[in-house]
């Protein structure tokens, strides 16, 4: 595990990484749950409704009620399903979402005060696994997460699930090219695959953000990110009006909940990538980590906002968009970037 953090920071120990992993798991799960509440509220407000109001103040405890419901529901496995694959598919989605979060910067680094017994003095890094190929790892993990819907849809002996799985496959084949190509141009400019290098490159304030140099790549990555997280313009996998619930048709209880948590963790991951790669990321000085939380919050809100505003597109339109429009634009963008860099 190579560290590219600023030199004068303490050494990253195994204990610190484990603590960080626990923090990520706990906090992101909670945020993912809270995200469902925020989503319901924001969608409601945009439709001039109130949203959940009755459980707790302003419906805040709705989250707890949903959690209790999901945990106590019966775990139904269909008779003709491939039981093993059916049962591990949601785990793939949730696990890959959290594995992807291992390589992105989440929350500032800190040292546990020395007066705490046992763990006192342990340095907890901001990135659990500070890989020098962080972006590659995160994108790969999020792509692997698509195995969750794919296997879930194919294993459940349900026609809607099969359609959902087929749509997963075509969606995966469509957007993955755009994701990689769109983020290639910023990678060429920075010359590194590490999130820390990206952050350091844009440390000079708003003027040095990569979005000004790579606006096209930013838009392309945002579109591909929406496809990657199955958010609304591209939510073909489980579009209720067409395929009941797509790959999640036969799922109930906590297995369905794991898909949900995985989806929201992915939303947070994509938001963090977009914030770090294009919008300057976190800054160590000044208001510091509030900035990246605001940026991630903006992207999260954008996903809900888009869901409230836009209709979703057909599978063939998705393929048309990705292969015939976005991929050429991404290639041209890379070409122009390369020419400018060589000149």
């Amino acid at each position: 595990m190579e560290t590219t953090l600023v030199q004068n920071l303490p050494e990253v120990t195994a204990a610190g990484v484990i603590i960080k992993a626990i923090i990520i798991l706990a906090v992101i799960s909670a945020i993912a749950g809270f995200g469902t509440f925020i989503e319901r509220k924001v969608l409601a407000f945009m439709q001039r409704r109130l949203g959940p109001m009755h459980v707790g103040p302003y419906g805040l405890l709705q989250l707890a009620a949903d959690g209790i419901k999901l945990f106590t529901k019966e775990d139904i496995v269909p008779q003709n399903a491939n039981k093993l694959i059916f049962m591990i598919a949601p785990v793939i989605t949730a696990a890959t979402a959290f594995i992807a979060l291992a390589a992105v910067p989440v929350f500032p680094d800190f040292t546990i005060p020395t007066w705490i017994p046992l763990l006192g003095g342990v340095f907890v890094p901001s990135i659990a696994a500070d890989l020098n190929i962080g972006i590659l790892f995160v994108l790969g993990m999020m792509a692997a997460g698509l195995y969750g819907p794919l296997l879930a849809g194919m294993s459940q002996a349900n026609k809607w699930g099969i359609i959902g799985a087929a749509r997963t496959a075509i969606q995966f084949l469509s957007y993955e090219v755009v994701t990689g190509l769109s983020i290639l141009a910023p990678i060429m400019i920075v010359g590194s695959l590490s999130f820390v290098d990206f952050n350091d490159y844009q440390a000079g304030g708003i003027g040095s953000w990569l979005i000004w140099q790579q606006p096209v790549a930013f838009v392309l990555f945002l579109i591909a990110g929406f496809a990657e997280t199955n958010r609304t313009p591209f939510d073909l996998l489980e579009h209720e009006a067409e395929v009941v619930s797509g790959y999640a048709t036969e799922y109930s209880g906590m297995r369905w909940g794991m898909f949900f948590i995985g989806e929201y963790a992915n939303m947070i991951t994509v938001s963090i990538i977009a914030a770090v790669v294009f919008l300057g990321g976190y800054s160590v000085e000044g208001i510091g980590w509030i900035t990246i939380i605001l940026k991630v919050g903006f992207f999260f809100f954008l996903m809900l906002w888009v869901r409230a505003s836009w209709p979703h597109i057909r599978p063939d339109q998705l393929m048309w968009l990705c292969w015939k429009v976005l991929m050429p634009i991404a290639l041209i963008n890379i070409l122009i970037t390369a020419l400018v860099m060589m000149a």
């Binding site: 945009m46 001039r48 409704r49 409230a308 505003s309």
Partner: protein
């Protein structure tokens, strides 16, 4: 609109306005132009702006549509026919019903049962009065036929009940005597119309 026009179901000959959907592009150049035009049109952002505007209006300008039903209720039309009310005379507080029995007679589902007797002043007194709400179809004939506006349809529309035949007694529907000052005059089904005074004519006695 005349009746003949209204009855014309021949859709082919009517004047419909076609939407301007433009021309479907044929050549590759036209197709490309259409893609570029649609790509650079700000329509998606118009959609985003609309939802954001509505959110702002809902949150800050008190334009929320939700009615939190068990706690808030929308006003219902005065012509709505819900659970019956029995009204009292405002001056004396005595119930308005004169025991004429017209409501029992006109009730098409036979859900009103009443019994009367003469009291010591030789006035009709209502001794029994029940409405079987399991049978009542809320047609409103009883309110319409009542000469005294004594039985009216009130605003209570939550009629879920544990029993199929749920009876309501006269006392349950009667305005409580201590709430007499809150009794609303009924302007709904079967009430005197607002221009009733203008419609009064002399009884023709020439026959």
């Amino acid at each position: 609109m005349g009746l003949e026009q209204f009855k014309n179901r021949n859709v082919g000959t009517q004047n419909y306005t076609n939407l301007d959907v433009g021309v479907t592009p044929v050549t590759n150049k036209d197709k490309f132009t259409q893609v570029v035009k649609r790509t650079l049109k700000g329509e998606l952002f118009v959609g985003l702006w609309v939802t954001l505007r509505e959110m702002g209006k809902a949150l800050f300008l008190d334009n929320m549509h939700t009615v939190q039903y068990p706690f808030e209720k929308l006003p219902i039309s005065p012509r709505y026919r819900a659970i019956h009310d029995m009204l009292r005379l405002l001056e004396s507080g005595h119930y308005r019903c004169i025991g004429c029995g017209l409501c029992e007679k006109i009730c098409i589902s036979n859900c009103i049962t009443m019994d009367t007797r003469y009291d010591e002043n030789q006035r009709k007194e209502v001794t029994e009065y029940t409405i079987n709400f399991g049978r009542c179809i809320f047609c409103g004939y009883c309110a319409e036929v009542c000469p005294e506006l004594a039985i009216v349809h009130g605003p209570r529309y939550e009629t879920a009940s544990e029993q199929r035949a749920s009876f309501s007694l006269f006392e349950d529907m009667l305005t409580p005597i201590d709430k007499l000052n809150l009794q609303q005059e009924y302007d709904g089904f079967g009430a005197v119309s607002p221009n009733a005074d203008d419609n009064i004519k002399q009884t023709p006695l020439a026959y």
